[in-house]
């Protein structure tokens, strides 16, 4: 098989770069569609005030109205416009997803680099990381939330912390591999100091896998936020997060399913698009390094 692959590969070397973009779009339609939907969602989040009315506005006299004359998505048990809340909910979910991804990757990167390079730190840190990974993520987040109390920032922290060990593992693995490479040894031998080696040689190799991991973390965070809010341990009740909307809507579920349906659909949509994006990134960037993830 390898001989044939090599044969075929040889023949395809001459592909020209200008057609790459259209080529990419043609061969990965799902990724392109997902990315577009995601961008649309980001735009909705940014331009929310222009797209919908006030999500917090109470109007109890028109509570629990089905979609139709009282709003595209109907109203909830306090008369609030479900469409508006869903639109604003995009902001919460996106920011939670984004910040969790950033925080966990950032912290994980830092610890991972340290662990990869300093032997003592490595031994201690990895034991701790292994232990933390044994605690199922949601329980971990719930426990943290029970401690610190309800707010969007706390939710972000509570969801980030359980994700950090996996990032540390990934970064450390990369550091250990790159460290052994001849060009790094050469750099050390020629007197390059540690910070420079880290920045110039090690860091660039972490970008691709970290980006892929970050997308997966983002998707996971959006779901975990929903779970937390559903259980009452997430964002504060006034905040129009999709999780909260579904938590509130569950009581009326049997007769007024739209309360659950719309935020649920949007949530699934966002998570799916981010996941597909992550897959696409992984397939494009470096399949070999990124394969050990998830």
């Amino acid at each position: 098989m390898a001989a044939i692959d090599a044969l075929v590969a040889e023949q395809t070397v001459g592909a020209d770069k200008s057609g790459r973009m259209t080529e990419f779009i043609r061969r990965n339609p799902t990724v392109v569609i997902s990315a577009s939907i995601l961008i649309a969602m980001v735009l909705v989040a940014i331009f929310a005030p222009f797209l919908a009315t006030d999500p917090l506005e109470l109007a109890p006299w028109q509570r629990l109205k089905p979609p139709g004359e009282f709003g595209w998505f109907g109203t909830d048990h306090l008369g609030r416009d479900v469409f508006a809340r869903t639109v604003y909910g995009t902001r919460i979910s996106l920011s939670v997803g984004l910040f969790v991804a950033l925080v966990s990757t950032g912290v994980g990167l830092f610890i991972g680099l340290l662990a990869g390079y300093v032997r003592i730190v490595d031994a201690v840190v990895m034991r701790i990381m292994d232990g933390l990974m044994a605690i199922p993520g949601i329980l971990f987040a719930i426990a943290l939330m029970a401690l610190v109390g309800s707010s969007v920032q706390n939710v972000i922290i509570a969801i980030s912390v359980p994700e950090i060990p996996r990032v540390v593992r990934l970064v450390r693995a990369i550091v250990l591999t790159i460290r052994e490479m001849p060009y790094v040894e050469a750099a050390v031998a020629s007197g390059t100091r540690l910070p420079q080696i880290l920045v110039r040689h090690i860091l660039p190799n972490t970008f691709a896998p970290l980006m892929v991991q970050a997308t997966y973390i983002c998707a996971s965070a959006v779901i975990v936020e929903a779970y937390l809010s559903f259980l009452g341990a997430g964002t504060p009740p006034e905040v129009p997060s999709w999780g909260n909307m579904m938590a509130e809507g569950r009581v009326y579920f049997q007769f007024k399913p739209w309360l659950l349906f719309f935020p649920g659909l949007c949530l699934a949509c966002m998570v799916m698009t981010v996941n597909i994006l992550g897959d696409g990134l992984r397939d494009t960037l470096d399949p070999r390094i990124a394969r050990g993830m998830r």
């Binding site: 090599a6 044969l7 001459g14 592909a15």
Partner: protein, 349 residues
């Protein structure tokens, strides 16, 4: 050596006959013409070597015989592969399965990766036997041990319970040979069987193959890029270049009278131990064939070797040469063969 010792033509019908085979691969950059009009015959008990550099289509030809290419992207554009009268290309998968490992076997280059790491050696050999000979596992296992003995694996009784990673490279290749010959196939296709092995082991494996060939009467199609192997094992040789057959002859004929510039290039590029100094005392450089293998995607009207050929004429560039019998039972596809052969004959001692 004169023409008369080139060997009498075989009068029996060939065991395998490939007629004008074209195997193409459809890739996003175009259609790769990996095998572009190759014909050959293999007779009972003979060893046919297919020689050529990487990418010339020899492995693809072999894989096509057994139907091992994934379709897509591979596609058999045209041609026939007649095995004892039946066209293999027209067979249903089930019927092909009855032939694989049974009537036609194949061994591959890398014995380490070609054996399943989680199954015992014994299992991998006996499963072929039970499949094709319909015997019980017990009997199959005994025959597997017999085969291992036959291929000179010491301690066969112990070895059948072991896993591939517990054996050395040479042992693994022997096990593969045992596997391939266990059902006494008519044809053994060996794709670079000794390339991945140490030189000393190489010799052992080739000796073994010769011995088994004589014992079993199997025809062997030996694919290699190593002319040393050809010299040791081969009776007839087929030279392939860029998906086409460019020369076919007996081993002696090819080595002494190459009729295609490419074959000549191959012969002269072999380092010879006794020729490191020319008459005037200077070192003789290794002759290489200049240029590169052509793309198999583009359609080139003339001879595919012309760009690299020092004998190329206008006709060579314009028209693709056809195979012609320039010497007795010695075919070559070259417009300049005539001049070429004469030149050679006059210079040979």
């Amino acid at each position: 050596m004169d023409n008369s010792t080139a060997g009498a033509a075989r009068t029996d019908s060939p065991v395998l006959q490939i007629k004008d085979l074209r195997t193409f691969f459809d890739t996003r950059d175009g259609t790769v013409r990996a095998v572009n009009g190759v014909s050959l015959e293999v007779y009972a008990g003979e060893t046919l070597c297919i020689v050529g550099e990487s990418g010339c289509g020899k492995s693809v030809t072999a894989m096509t015989i057994l139907g091992l290419l994934p379709k897509p992207p591979a596609r058999i554009e045209s041609g026939e592969i007649l095995f004892q009268g039946t066209d293999l290309l027209k067979l249903e998968e089930q019927d092909m399965q009855a032939i694989r490992g049974n009537e036609i076997s194949m061994i591959f280059q890398e014995p380490m990766t070609s054996l399943n790491p989680v199954l015992t050696i014994g299992r991998q050999i006996s499963e072929v036997i039970s499949l094709h000979q319909g015997v019980s596992d017990r009997v199959a296992r005994d025959r597997a041990i017999e085969m291992l003995d036959r291929v000179r694996v010491p301690d066969a009784h112990q070895r059948v319970t072991e896993y591939p990673h517990q054996l050395s490279g040479g042992m693994r290749q022997r096990a593969m040979i045992a596997m391939a010959l266990s059902c006494n196939p008519k044809i053994l296709i060996a794709d670079e069987p000794s390339t991945a092995l140490d030189v000393t082991i190489q010799a052992q494996i080739l000796d073994l193959m010769r011995e088994l060939r004589d014992d079993f009467g199997t025809s062997i199609i030996l694919i290699t890029h190593d002319l040393g192997v050809v010299a040791e094992m081969g009776e007839r040789v087929l030279v392939m270049y860029a998906g086409r057959k460019v020369e076919e002859a007996s081993v002696e004929e090819l080595f002494h009278y190459p009729l295609h510039p490419y074959s000549e290039g191959l012969m002269t590029s072999i380092p010879r131990l006794n020729e490191s100094l020319a008459e005037d005392g200077d070192r003789v450089r290794l002759q290489e064939i200049p240029g590169m293998v052509p793309s198999l995607i583009e359609e080139i009207p003339g001879c595919l070797f012309a760009p690299r050929c020092s004998y190329a004429s206008e006709q060579c560039v314009a028209e693709s040469p056809r195979l012609a019998e320039h010497r007795k039972q010695h075919h070559a596809a070259c417009w300049e063969s005539g001049n070429f052969a004469n030149r050679l004959e006059s210079s040979t001692p």
